[in-house]
């Protein structure tokens, strides 16, 4: 490495304001006598100048906010095109009402539904549902891009601090939750779900975030499911409001959803 090669590296640091003394003074005096390095310095500076900040296009904020308001739910894990979610949310709203009503009937058979205050919040639960329930749409460019991003995150493994996607380890406790036709929840709350949207919403909550130890304590909830391929059970623990999920075979993990979200879903 010639002397000038060494100085070139220092020029880059110098322009970034990262060069410390005594190298800073040394470089400055070198630049005064070396035209080759001055040229490099000029070139680097010209690059910096031409990489200034540009104004964002008009309407960007409005578009982002429109998408964000349509989608709702700050705990959501997966984005998709705005607008498409509406019918899903309407369907989900209806299904939530049903779930709440049936849960109310299950847990307190004699309480008149009209005086049951719990029935109200279910409508708000719609906005708190994390994740879009749409199946991945292969024709949708934006969701494809997101999928790519997610797979890259898990592939390079360098990024857990910035791991905004909960799907980097196990995606779901079941390979094909859409096949589940009946989900019976027991424990701290009871509900029997048959609506595919509702069931999908519960499984969204159970997305794996991080593997963990299975707690010693008895499970807070048991989820019995029936699908075309057979039936099975999952156990859920609530630790400080966060859900841990186990498949009963010793594999446990922190789920994406919280107990509050689960209760909102099932009433």
């Amino acid at each position: 490495m010639s002397e000038c090669d060494r100085f070139e590296l220092l020029i880059s640091e110098y322009l970034d304001g990262e060069l410390q003394e005594p190298e800073k003074t040394e470089l400055e005096s070198h630049l005064r006598k070396c035209s080759r390095c001055r040229r490099v310095c000029d070139a680097f500076r010209a690059i910096s100048l031409s990489l200034g900040e540009e104004a964002a296009p008009a309407g960007l904020t409005e578009d982002v906010m429109a998408a964000v308001r349509t989608r709702g739910g700050s705990g959501a894990k997966r984005a998709s095109k705005p607008g498409k979610s509406w019918p899903k949310y309407l369907a989900l709203a209806a299904c939530l009402m049903l779930a709440v009503l049936s849960a109310v009937r299950l847990s307190q058979p004699r309480a008149p539904a009209a005086s049951q205050p719990d029935a109200q919040p279910a409508q708000f639960g719609v906005a708190a549902v994390p994740g879009d329930l749409e199946p991945r749409d292969a024709g949708d460019d934006s969701s494809l891009m997101l999928e790519d991003a997610a797979s890259q995150d898990s592939a390079d493994g360098t990024d857990d601090k910035y791991n905004y996607n909960a799907e980097s380890c196990l995606p779901l406790p079941l390979e094909e939750p859409e096949q589940v036709s009946l989900l019976r929840i027991s424990g701290r709350a009871e509900a029997e779900l048959t609506d595919p949207e509702c069931i999908a919403a519960v499984f969204e909550l159970l997305c794996c975030v991080e593997p963990t130890q299975q707690p010693d304590a008895p499970a807070s909830y048991t989820l019995a499911y029936e699908s075309e391929d057979g039936s099975g059970t999952l156990e859920l623990w609530s630790l400080d409001g966060e859900l841990l999920c186990s498949d009963g075979a010793g594999a446990a993990y922190e789920a994406a959803g919280s107990e509050a979200e689960l209760l909102e879903l099932i009433g």
Partner: protein, 206 residues
């Protein structure tokens, strides 16, 4: 916006106030868009990338732990989205050349859409255009690290934490990105090879 104000807004958004997110978009949209623009090289895609970055930031705000600045987290999200997009685009391209950078990493090279005239001087607009084309010849990873520094103004320390690289690696990659870019500009005649500074005394007055 101070960091405290920003954390306050993030807390509001997390508690369900979607409208509060607007302040974050307004605060960061220029930087996010500029980063996306230099990453993907055209305004239309850059707008899509920026929009996607904000929507994703909103959706995954729950996983932002405040260990880094929100802006650093957001820029990283943006550049990730752009890199994924570029990879997808590289795969789809039928006519392309390959690059191989200093890390031996291969990728697809975008063919410049027009030739550059060698007699062009240091005209700002032309230089910018040339830098845009030069950037397209860097691998997305080199582009990312240079832009996080140049556009987003992150320090070496912030970049090293954000990209999980040693600070020495950050330093040398930024240098190599600049060096490569300047070689392209010199080759294309945008930066005169010998004349620029010879007539001047003291290239550095900063």
């Amino acid at each position: 916006m101070t960091r405290e104000e920003e954390l306050e807004i993030i807390a509001q958004v997390r508690s369900g106030d979607a409208d509060a997110f607007e302040a974050l978009v307004l605060e960061h949209q220029n930087k996010v868009y500029s980063l996306a623009l230099r990453m993907v090289g055209n305004e239309e895609d850059a707008r899509d990338m920026a929009q996607e970055a904000f929507i994703r930031a909103y959706n995954s705000l729950g996983s932002f732990r405040g260990e880094s600045k929100f802006s650093v987290w957001l820029y990283r999200l943006t550049s990730n989205i752009c890199i994924d997009f570029l990879r997808g685009r590289a795969k789809r391209k039928t006519v392309s050349l390959s690059w191989e950078d200093e890390d031996g990493e291969e990728g697809e090279l975008e063919i410049p859409d027009e030739r550059f005239s060698p007699e062009a001087g240091l005209e700002r607009a032309e230089l910018r255009e040339a830098v845009r084309r030069g950037l397209a010849q860097l691998s997305p990873e080199y582009r990312e690290i240079l832009l996080l520094r140049e556009i987003n103004g992150l320090s070496y320390d912030e970049i090293s934490r954000c990209l999980r690289l040693e600070e020495g690696t950050v330093k040398s990659r930024i240098f190599r990105a600049r060096k490569k870019l300047s070689e392209i500009l010199i080759r294309e005649g945008n930066i005169p090879e010998a004349s620029a500074s010879n007539e001047r005394k003291g290239g550095v007055d900063a």
